[in-house]
Amino acid sequence: MFPEFVTNVRHSRESGNPVTFSERRWIPAFAGMTVTDGIIIMKYETFNRLKLEARPEPSRVWSYCSPLLALLITVLIGVALFSALGKDPLRGLQVFFWEPIKSGYAIGELMVKATPLLLIALGLAVCFRSNVWNIGAEGQFIAGAIAAGGVALLADKGTGGWIVIAVLLAGTLGGMLWGGITALLRDRFNANEILVSLMLVYVADLLLGYLVYGPWKDPAGYNFPQTKTFEAVTQIPRLFAGSRVSIGLAVALAGVAALWVFLFRTRAGFALQVGGLAPAAARYAGFSSRSALWLALLVSGGAAGLAGALEVAGPIGQLTPYVPAGYGFAAIIVAFVGRLHPLGMVFAAILMSMFYIGGELAQSRLGLPKSLTGVFQGLLLFTLLACDTLVMYRIKARSA
């Protein structure tokens, strides 16, 4: 986040290294930690019954189980929440976990929501693995939507089908441009990418507002802040008839494969990850941190922009101030829950879509506010981070 200072001149020595350096991302072999049991948060008392003991190597079993445990805990809290709100918890669970998958159409709707989440998350995985904290994917999504919408508005009744390609390309480039601003500021000025990308989200949102309230407003739209509906020819083609799933899903799945190959079978992907895991080693190996930075932000900006284009030229069909639906932020959660791994993120994206759809259904069927979705998503990330401790540590009863 703050500029990486690779070395620390102070002559201090620890087992295994003659000189300290400021990036410590591994667990030393002995780290007998005591922990005050943090499960009960309300009280300040310390519960010294349990102890966290470092594992010699990260546990592979828990790498897979931790997201499941986190989901379980979130569900339990959800059940408690439903009961507290006076609703039937079983009905709540059904709405969130059964309804979204119970029919072909429902699964289609699930995929419609999962596609942008997955796309953005794929880009974010590249970023987070190289320790570039791109939090502003939402802004890049909006920028892509704006660019795509702008191109779509150029179409008229006589335009050919090629406009779809132009729309998608514009969206990708728009997102890349927005991501590139962050990269430029970090590259040239060392500015913290978290804050810059985040500020740009607000800027992008306001830009969208200006456009739909101003120059791009539909003259025939009764003065509502929206552009005219895009011509049918700009619509992203559907994948199957009878469902709203678009080719975006195919693009996303192709992206999953591409990411896997990139991360695990190419030197460029390896270089990127080394930069994120041990910057001093990357410098030693001669991997360029500048190119990693630009690659990460351009790829994730482009992915988010593409997702924006797919949304705007797909299900939404026009530009409105409500285009930003928080996918950029939800995708951060997808990336983490999916462990930054392409396959994991597929499952995580599906899970998060279930939360989205469940939230909408909960509103219409159970009278619960839609913001419940946000609560669950945040909770899931929290519990995931807590459960991830088990990958590195095991819990032992402390001997008296």
């Binding site: 986040m1 703050f2 500029p3 200072f5 620390n8 400021s22 410590r24 667990i27 030393p28 002995f30 780290a31 007998g32 930690m33 922990v35 005050t36 943090g38 948060i41 966290l52 470092a54 939090i135 500021l185 040239r188 000025f189 060392n190 500015a191 913290n192 978290i194 804050l195 810059v196 985040l198 500020m199 740009l200 607000y202 800027v203 306001l206 830009l207 507002g209 200006y210 309230y213 101003g214 932020f329 951060i332 959660i333 983490f336 506010p369 913001s371 419940l372 979705t373 946000g374 609560v375 669950f376 998503q377 945040g378 990330l381 929290f382 981070l385 807590a386 991830d388 401790t389 590195m392």
Partner: protein
């Protein structure tokens, strides 16, 4: 002329929100912990304070509720980050996302609610001075308390032993641990204090600045406060100055709109965010400057006993 006096007054008002939050985050970061959940904490505190006043009518309870909400969320964050050593940035983000959702969820009932008429505060005699009076001396007491707090914080950090211990924990937690200081408890205390202040800022927002509740009303001020601590190079006096500067920029847009300047309102609304980016870029250009002022252990996990 009066307009300028009002502008100054509004700047102080707006700046105070940022200042309180940023000073809290400064305490956090002096201990070596970055809490990206400022936005979420402020939102939850805003709704907590607002709801408390709706139900009890007492501002004191409202502020207390806000402080409590912030402290509670910060404690949760602190336990995860300090004891379980989860990634500070990810956990802070989780807190923000959760806070956004949770506050929206809880706040549904309160969107149309109104709270009792806000009292006007005037300092006798001083506020009668033409120009300067309305500009500076008709503020909520918290505005003046914030300035006093900033001064107190400077004294605490640089003149007191407790402040020295805090700085040492942020500089090198391993050394502090070796010297026998309870590093994790000190950090937790700093985190909770920071959260309490963010909570105070959030409740100030919903009780004094704009006395209402709207989903997402913090509108990025939490993130701006985070940026503030960086480009104030972790010094309380500069934080205060920067906060007023940004408050001024925010108020400027209304002033310009009122003055009939021909720029669309959305571009004016972008001013604070763009200003943040610009200042961040200018300040970060010199890594040496940051390095010597930045608590060296920010963002890094600490494993006692290693």
């Amino acid at each position: 002329m009066d307009a300028y006096a009002l502008l100054v007054a509004a700047t102080l008002n707006a700046g105070t929100v940022l200042a309180i939050a940023a000073l809290g985050l400064l305490i956090n970061e002096k201990a070596g912990i970055v809490n990206l959940g400022a936005e979420g904490m402020m939102l939850c505190a805003a709704i907590a304070g607002f709801a408390a006043v709706v139900h009890t009518g007492s501002d004191w309870i409202g502020f207390a509720a806000g402080i409590g909400a912030g402290a509670l969320l910060a404690a949760l964050f602190g336990l995860l980050v300090i004891w379980l050593n989860t990634n500070q940035y990810a956990t802070g983000l989780a807190l923000s996302l959760f806070g956004v959702g949770f506050s929206a969820f809880v706040g549904i009932k309160y969107v149309q609610e109104k709270i009792p008429e806000r009292p006007r505060f005037v300092i006798p005699f001083l506020s009668d001075i033409p120009l300067v009076g309305p500009a500076l001396f008709q503020q909520h007491p918290l505005v003046y308390l914030t300035m006093a707090f900033a001064a107190g914080l400077i004294w605490f950090l640089h003149r007191s032993r407790a402040g020295l211990v805090l700085r040492s924990v942020g500089e090198n937690p391993a050394s502090a641990q070796a010297l026998g200081y309870p590093v994790r408890r000190i950090r937790l205390a700093a985190v909770v204090a920071g959260g309490a202040l963010c909570g105070l800022a959030g409740s100030y927002l919903s009780l004094v600045y704009t006395p209402l509740w709207v989903e997402g009303m913090v509108a990025g001020k939490g993130w701006i406060a985070l940026a503030l601590t960086t480009f104030a190079t972790w010094r309380p006096a500069r934080v205060l100055l920067g906060a007023y500067l940004f408050g001024g920029v925010t108020m400027l847009q209304f002033h310009l709109q009122g003055a009939g300047v021909e720029i669309h309102s959305q571009f004016l609304s972008m001013l604070p965010y763009v200003a943040t980016i610009v200042v961040l870029a200018l300040i970060s250009r010199n890594p040496q400057w940051i390095r010597i002022n930045m608590p060296a252990s920010i963002g890094k996990p600490f494993y006692p006993g290693s």
